[in-house]
Symmetry: C2
Subunit: 232 residues, 2 copies
Amino acid sequence: MAAKRNGAESKGSGRRGASPRSGQEPRSEPPLSLERIVATAVDLLDAEGVDGLKMRRLADRLGSGAMSLYWHVGNKEEVFDLALDSVLEYRGPSDIVESRDWRGEIVHMLEDWRASMLRHPWTASLLPRRALGPNILSRLELLSKTLSRAGVVDADLNVAIWSLWNFVIGATTTRANFDLSDDDRAAAQQRLTGLSQHYPTIERSRLLLDNDWDGAFSKGLDFLLDGLAPRQ
Amino acid sequence: MAAKRNGAESKGSGRRGASPRSGQEPRSEPPLSLERIVATAVDLLDAEGVDGLKMRRLADRLGSGAMSLYWHVGNKEEVFDLALDSVLEYRGPSDIVESRDWRGEIVHMLEDWRASMLRHPWTASLLPRRALGPNILSRLELLSKTLSRAGVVDADLNVAIWSLWNFVIGATTTRANFDLSDDDRAAAQQRLTGLSQHYPTIERSRLLLDNDWDGAFSKGLDFLLDGLAPRQ
DNA sequence: TAATTGCATCGTACGGCGTACGAGTCAACC
DNA sequence: GGTTGACTCGTACGCCGTACGATGCAATTA
């Protein structure tokens, strides 16, 4: 099976540029490519959300026929995977710098991670159900290396990475969920307030209603890091 | 709008029992009800996963026509919401007990939460994109109350709840994701190992490959609680 | 008893989806 | 000139969620 062009990362190999169109119709689109498909998918996801991504619609934006996409990707799920991973690339201080401030590095990377996801809120609902792409794994690798350099012994490394990862995933998914999935911000708030008699403590702490998500995130991260490797 | 029967929780109000069938065909099914629909949806989700839940299939299992469901629920999304919340009911020591061991209580509830979700792995991909139902809110309320009783001041309560919530959500979604979404356990493992040259530290810590998820969870939770409220 | 009402069920049909299939185009190579 | 292989796309199929209206039946009313 697998006729098409899966397996390798081959882009355009042979001919280039020559427009496949004979006349000069108003078809100025560049040729289809995996890069364009993924980038356009991200745009579409940003604009319309997870449910807004349809193969036909994506093809429209690309100025191509729907079935042309299937030369470049195996199926729609693959589009999701690629879009997700592409958005999570980390452009930060790579391992070149042997900074002493490991805690700062970790905080920076995790906050960048969270920021990337919040910039594309659909990632929150996708990440939990898709496989880990190379960019995600790279982040985990960098996290591991930093923690290791910070003195976390190998036996604890696993737990430490997991805890931080879990924290970021949880924080961003919940946050994005609240910005989006609830039909309306006001409606959700009213619903919560209406029910607040049943949930007095939640109400008192103004959970979900206060808007200092950023502060809550970094403060919680601090607590977690304190637990993982107490400041000496 | 809204003719049907939304808004209230009315179950059967008037007549009961009399079979709507005239003869005695092999149709022994009890009448449709919201409870049966939700319970059957949970079964179907357990068996077939998120993508396996189709309104027609659900109706089949209920011995009814597909459109009959729409008398009881507004749409498919509502089925998801109800199934999700129904599975997260907490049957644990409610606030009656004024135990001194707040830390034990919290650990117990969070581990129960995680266990509930892992028993129904589809919850992991649903929770991040659905609204919070009453059972979920009840858990949060209980968590708040316990933390509050443990001496966490109101100013920190928000952050504390969030951190714990995030940790649980993250841990369960990732875990469930690994059990399921990757086509095959073996395939995933091989993929990771094949790529391990790019991710040496991950490989060394045997992240994702070791199977002591339970241990990692409770250990991470311990770290987090240490940070939130250091043992005195 | 007869007519009416309202809860509940369900058959049919519609529009939209992902994508299988196979035909088409064109550059490169023999 | 013929062949090949990379790439595009029109058509069609099966499945989905669900709008709509017909139908049945119990309770209510006259």
